[in-house]
């Protein structure tokens, strides 16, 4: 079996095992797995309303996945997508309601603000890594909570003690009456186009520019990159900043598309951490991220139908996603298994 085939088989096998274990968990807990999975299916594809909302759910997952994947490709683990996304969310909402501008300026400005906020927050981690050798995993975890508390405090301040900001103006909104009508009044918005453009953008940087080549080189082997005359520290900072930009835009999708404001959050949104799963499943490639985000976004949204239609807690889907991460991360053992299997076949 070629390496390429194995690389594609590992995530697929992981998904299948994840779904099987999920079914076993449901059966052991006294629920009907068939009923559960059919409720999940209807929750995702049941009608045009569900499909619209599923795509809406996929949108921030795409951007969170891109953020994690981009950092991974350059040898960095951005576990701070969550914090960058929260700040992007806040920045987009603030620009959305604080300014009065024509749509053609206002919407791009709000998106830009979100991207800048996320990029800045990730820049801090990149700077700390380049300058002080602070491991980016720990730095971004710490920055996640810092972002959460700061955002909550700012929202409280902006709204004079309330728990959410004003609604964004129509001129900054990603909402689309056309898409709504098409999908039976779902909350589908134009954000999906922004997200898909970003997928192309990531592919373009990494595959078609010198800068992208350098970023990947630093990710592969920073000593070799250094020896070849590349500025490793500059590339680390740049990589984190671009990664944070994707994350910030993920927040803008929620602010300008789905919710239309920013509200105080008791905890994390979970999108950032699920972004790790998305990137991992997609092997950190832009196309892979589209696949990963579609799967996890669909599962997450479809799960909401499970308590009503099948009486099963929606957390079963989070269990399945966590298991899939375990299996993909343990890809080594699946590879060994596959290689043994293919050797046996050759021996026969």
């Amino acid at each position: 079996m070629s390496n390429r085939v194995i690389n594609i088989l590992v995530p697929i096998i992981s998904i299948i095992i994840g779904l099987i274990v999920g079914a076993i968990v449901m059966a052991v807990s006294g629920y009907d797995p068939v009923l559960g999975y059919s409720a999940l299916w209807t929750g995702i594809f049941g009608d045009s309303y569900s499909i619209g909302n599923t795509i809406r759910q996929i949108t921030p997952y795409l951007l969170a996945g891109l953020a994690v994947a981009f950092a991974f490709r350059t040898g960095l683990f951005n576990i701070g997508v969550e914090g960058q996304l929260i700040l992007g969310w806040l920045a987009a909402a603030w620009v959305g309601y604080a300014f009065d501008l024509p749509k053609i300026i206002h919407l791009p400005l709000a998106l830009l603000a979100a991207a800048a906020a996320g990029a800045f927050w990730a820049f801090i981690a990149g700077f700390l890594k380049a300058k002080f050798k602070v491991h980016e995993v720990i730095a971004t975890i710490m920055l996640n909570y810092t972002a959460l508390y700061i955002a909550n405090a700012v929202i409280k301040k902006l709204s004079d003690g309330s728990f959410k900001t004003e609604r964004i103006h129509e001129s900054a909104s990603l909402r689309s009456p056309f898409l709504r009508e098409l999908t039976d009044n779902s909350s589908l918005h134009y954000g999906i186009i922004v997200a898909l453009l970003m997928v192309v953008f990531m592919w373009f940087i990494l595959e078609k520019t010198t800068r992208g080549y350098e970023l990947k080189a630093v990710g592969f082997n920073k000593h070799a990159a250094d020896y070849a005359g590349m500025n490793v520290n500059k590339n680390i900072i740049l990589a984190m900043t671009i990664s944070g930009m994707f994350a910030g835009l993920g927040g803008a999708m929620e602010a300008l598309g789905t919710f239309g404001n920013a509200s105080i959050k008791p905890g994390f949104t979970g999108i950032g951490f699920d972004g790790i799963a998305v990137a991992l499943l997609g092997a950190n490639t832009p196309l892979g991220v589209v696949f990963g985000a579609s799967l996890f976004g669909s599962l997450k949204y479809g799960a909401l139908n499970m308590p009503n239609a099948a009486g099963i807690p929606e957390e079963i889907v989070s269990i399945i996603i966590a298991l899939i991460i375990f299996f993909v991360a343990s890809g080594y053992i699946i590879r060994v298994g596959l290689q043994k299997l293919s050797k046996k076949k050759e021996g026969q």
Binding site: F77, V134, I141, Y145, F326, S330, Y332
Partner: protein, 319 residues
């Protein structure tokens, strides 16, 4: 409120909030000292909190006053077992330890909330009837100043936490087991050459961290929240990681850092009732532990260095 009254109010409360952090951070010390990064402490605390509350609710009538201890023991055992997911993935299957830790966090929360909904048919458990209570230590409470400060409102779990910290220090620095533990975390190949079973040591360390994380969760739930829902443990595990780093991967350092973060938490919650700091916005105190940890890592407050082999799976024969 006089200055003394204020101290008598703040310090016991700081110790209360620090206690779960101490257990969990010490667990993190064990795991990281052996070379396994454990981002999953949050998930392990969640599982521990759920198990603690579940056992407390279901078996209170059987065990009476001993319920809290049974609940904590159960949380330790289940926490230890649950951490095997992380151990198997990151030690035997060579998974990225950070990814596996993230999966532990997701899984811990999902499984716990799933079970709560399955058992109680709602998202939140009832409030426990037997919670861990404060007591006064005879004789010591009579000491002027220190008595009311430290010994009049004590939780038995806080005493246990100090004991665990000192015990961990002894084990890690004064026993052959501790020497091996540190060796596999610093230079696994050298340790292997000397006949230390690297993977076995790492398994033990991760399970210890799971047990202590579970204990930390159960203590938090039984002293502070008194019930379990998805938001019971919100960042305590990550704060324990911060305490472990701020304490420079040393049990006593972690103890000190946890106490300090406990103080910050108390002040951020009760700050508006306390003179001198009532005008400081809570957000500064909320972010303080995390910002300080970043400073510590950047070397502004003495350099904090992780064990050398931390984060890398050990593969025999690979240089």
């Amino acid at each position: 409120m006089s200055f003394l009254e204020m101290l008598y109010f703040i310090i016991p409360s700081a110790i209360l909030y620090a206690t779960p952090l101490i257990f969990t951070a010490i667990g993190g010390v064990f795991s990281e000292r052996s070379g396994v990064v454990n981002i999953g402490l949050e998930g392990l605390m969640i599982v521990g909190a759920f198990v603690g509350i579940y056992v407390n609710l279901e078996y209170a009538s059987t065990f009476g006053a001993a319920t809290i201890w049974v609940a904590m023991l159960a949380a330790m055992i289940i926490g230890g077992i649950f951490s095997l997911f992380h151990a198997v993935a990151s030690i035997s299957f060579r998974a990225d330890q950070t990814v596996s830790g993230v999966a532990i966090n997701l899984l811990g929360l999902a499984v716990s909330v799933f079970m709560v909904k399955m058992i109680y048919d709602k998202g939140q458990t009832d409030t426990i009837t037997h919670s861990i209570d404060r007591f006064a230590i005879p004789y010591l409470e009579k000491i002027p100043f220190f008595g009311p400060l430290l010994f009049q409102n004590v939780y038995s779990t806080s005493i246990l936490a100090f004991a665990v910290a000192i015990g961990a220090w002894f084990i890690i620095y004064k026993t052959p087991f501790g020497l091996r533990l540190r060796a596999v975390g610093e230079h696994p190949m050298a340790a292997d050459t000397m006949g230390v079973n690297v993977n076995k040591m790492r398994y033990i360390a991760v399970v210890i961290s799971g047990a202590l994380g579970g204990l930390g969760g159960a203590v938090y739930a039984q002293t502070i929240t008194h019930d379990f829902s998805h938001a019971t443990i919100a960042g305590q595990g990550f704060m324990a990681i911060a305490a472990m780093i701020f304490g420079k991967w040393h049990p006593i350092g972690a103890l000190g850092a946890a106490l300090f973060f406990g103080l910050a938490q108390t002040l951020s919650i009760a700050g508006n009732q306390i003179p001198y700091i009532e005008n400081v916005p809570a957000v500064y105190l909320q972010i303080l532990p995390y910002v300080l940890t970043i400073f510590a890592l950047a070397g502004f407050i003495g350099k904090a260095n992780a064990p050398k082999a931390s984060g890398q799976p050990y593969i025999k024969g690979k240089r």
